[in-house]
């Protein structure tokens, strides 16, 4: 009966109820978006790091991966050391450098990584084939379009440009064998990959001739066997190889958290504001509705309807508005998040796989659950107020009115 009365009461003022539901839906959508935003980049980054199963990254001591041009010397020795640990299953050294396509009227520059195709975790092949020899190169879509080349074309690739002598430290003719999508790369950055030994071979042999790349790596990606403790392996690596900083997913996430803390706080504040606005909206509307029905409620009480019945009915009204708004807000929030994500993901320099808004069911349900709880809270005050009205006084006022 209480539910039926609450439903009938909401239907009685259709327009007002619809507007209230819409208002709550907007607050819910904003709350959901802020929750998605607060944790989205973090979780998206985590998923990105874990996407190829490498739990550890080794960067030059004191740096983050590709944060500087610094390289780690003694790749072979490091690999030999790492292989002594049975918990490590795969090691993928990555060498980064700037490359230039020269000759044939092409003037295209970009970043390149030297990898071992058998264990690489940096890209996915889009078309053509993967690197088979040191004469092969693959590029991303952005660079491919800049080059205007075709698969099978032979390109002259140079490395280590010296502006004083206007020479390169090394050049090599490579065959374009495929296009790839770099997992950690941005959409709008030209990128290429070739075998690490090919890239090494293009580096200079001394300080005067540019960067020395022989037996060096910018980064190692390390895959730990299933069941092994990545954190233990990380500690072992740092103890065994003093020239590297071993970064686990947890460490990387902590660093991302630190960098995004203001961003996250802002999202949480805006989310809290949305929640509060939703709460105030429902409280206001239910209070207005109760004030309008003061006489009706007094009569209900006079004919023997209990105080708890009145409270329950009004709380149900508040909850119904909130639940309907939350359900609508869920859809609205997902649509707006998708739209905003498209805009934000187009920011230059961001990895393609990074999402700003990531739908995490638990966080979403928690946020919407919080909204529903606030809806119950929003209904309690006006409900208690209505049920506590002195009956005779309310009837007298109603008669005078």
């Amino acid at each position: 009966m209480r539910g039926a009365l609450a439903q009938a009461s909401l239907i009685r003022h259709r327009a007002r109820t619809a507007l209230a539901v819409l208002g709550v839906a907007i607050a819910a959508a904003m709350l959901l978006d802020m929750v998605m935003l607060a944790t989205g980049m973090r979780e998206s980054f985590r998923e990105l790091l874990l996407s190829r199963g490498f739990q550890l990254r080794l960067a030059p001591k004191g740096t983050l991966p590709f944060d500087t041009d610094a390289t780690i010397p003694g790749v072979s020795a490091i690999i030999d050391t790492l292989r002594t640990n049975p918990a490590i299953s795969d090691i993928s050294p990555v060498l980064g450098a700037s490359i230039h396509f020269v000759g044939s009227g092409r003037d295209v520059s970009g970043s390149a990584i030297g990898i071992d195709p058998a264990v690489q975790g940096d890209y996915e092949l889009v078309s053509g084939r993967d690197l088979a020899s040191t004469d092969d190169i693959v590029v991303n879509d952005f660079m491919w379009r800049q080059l205007g080349a075709h698969l099978g074309d032979t390109l002259t690739v140079a490395l280590g440009y010296d502006p004083q002598t206007r020479t390169y430290s090394g050049q090599r003719r490579l065959v374009l064998v495929g296009t790839v999508r770099f997992i950690y790369g941005a959409n709008d950055q030209p990128g290429a990959a070739l075998r690490r030994e090919a890239l090494e071979g293009m580096g200079g042999s001394g300080a005067s001739a540019g960067r020395v790349l022989r037996d060096r790596a910018s980064l190692f990606m390390v895959r730990v066997r299933n069941g092994a403790d990545a954190e233990q392996v990380r500690n072992w690596i740092e103890a065994k190889i003093p020239t590297v900083s071993a970064i686990s997913i947890a460490t990387a996430i902590a660093q991302v958290d630190e960098r995004l803390s203001y961003f996250r706080q802002l999202a949480l504040i805006l989310g809290a504001v949305s929640l509060f606005v939703g709460f105030l909206l429902v409280t206001t509307l239910v209070t207005v509705s109760v004030n309008e029905r003061a006489g009706e409620i007094a009569v209900m009480r006079a004919i023997g309807i209990s105080r708890s019945h009145v409270i329950q009915q009004i709380v149900i009204e508040g909850v119904a508005i909130t639940v309907l708004g939350a359900v609508l807000g869920l859809g609205l929030g997902l649509v707006t998040a998708r739209y905003l994500n498209t805009i934000l993901s187009a920011f230059p320099g961001l990895p393609m796989a990074i999402d700003f808004f990531l739908f995490q069911p638990r966080a979403a349900w928690s946020a919407l659950g919080l909204l529903v709880v606030s809806g119950i809270g929003a209904g309690i005050y006006p409900a208690w107020r209505a049920a506590s009205l002195p009956i005779a006084e309310s009837l007298r006022r109603e008669a005078i009115a």
């Binding site: 009966m1 006489g295 004919i303 023997g304 209990s306 105080r307 009956i391 005779a392 109603e398 008669a399």
Partner: protein, 232 residues
């Protein structure tokens, strides 16, 4: 319609030296000043008097929706002034039927649902309350209007629905505050006849009214002035 007056014997309402004061700003208004009144079971009492003389205040006290400042109000042997809110609510639900000047039907419910509402609160099974609500609406002459909403009924019809609602839980006392106040003369006459029929069927009625016709239809008329009963 015999259930209302099924035990119509002796005194049902006993009001003794009742005072009711209201704070109005810094002052106190003495709405009732030492009122004494007895109503026997099966009686039909009209309380009349000028506006502001305390008629409705007295009716509210008899109906257990207000407490006296001093004095005692006994309904069917139970002291109203000492009841908690919960007790008073239950007491009203099962023993008092209220009819108001403005009908106060819930606009969102049909006639039959409005009548069934107090029965639902009293825990009557859905089928039973529907059947009884339909019987009551038949009794007040609205057998063909069960599904109509208040907005689809005339003022007189709405008041008859309100009377049926007041009778829903077979109350021992029916109270009406200006029940014809919002009705035209013809419709008012229909309500007066309905009250007479109710009383003939055994209901105990206390009516507050300015309507001379309604007051004249009662068995007993009580005059009030300045918060006192001046002629019982």
């Amino acid at each position: 319609m015999t259930s209302v007056g099924r035990d119509a014997d002796g005194t049902i309402v006993s009001v003794r030296d009742v005072h009711r004061d209201y704070p109005v700003g810094a002052e106190r208004v003495h709405a009732l000043q030492g009122v004494n009144l007895d109503v026997a079971r099966g009686d039909y009492v009209a309380i009349v008097g000028p506006s502001g003389c305390g008629k409705s205040t007295l009716l509210n006290l008899i109906g257990a929706i207000d407490h006296p400042t001093s004095g005692t109000v006994t309904i069917g042997g139970r002291h109203v002034e000492s009841m908690s809110d919960r007790e008073a609510t239950q007491f009203r639900l099962r023993n008092i039927g209220f009819v108001f000047q403005r009908f106060y039907l819930l606009p969102i419910l049909s006639a039959v649902e409005n009548v069934a509402l107090p029965m639902a609160e009293a825990g009557v099974q859905k089928q039973d309350r529907r059947r009884r609500a339909a019987e009551l609406l038949e009794y007040v002459g609205l057998g063909g209007r069960l599904r109509h909403r208040p907005s689809e009924l005339s003022g007189g019809e709405q008041q008859r629905v309100a009377i049926a609602r007041a009778l829903a839980n077979r109350p021992s006392l029916l109270l009406a505050d200006e029940p014809t106040g919002e009705l035209d003369a013809r419709t008012g006459t229909e309500i007066i006849r309905l009250f007479q029929r109710l009383n003939e069927d055994g209901a105990t009625l206390v009516v507050v009214t300015h309507d001379e016709d309604l007051a004249s239809a009662a068995r007993r008329k009580i005059h009030m002035r300045d918060g006192r009963v001046v002629d019982a």
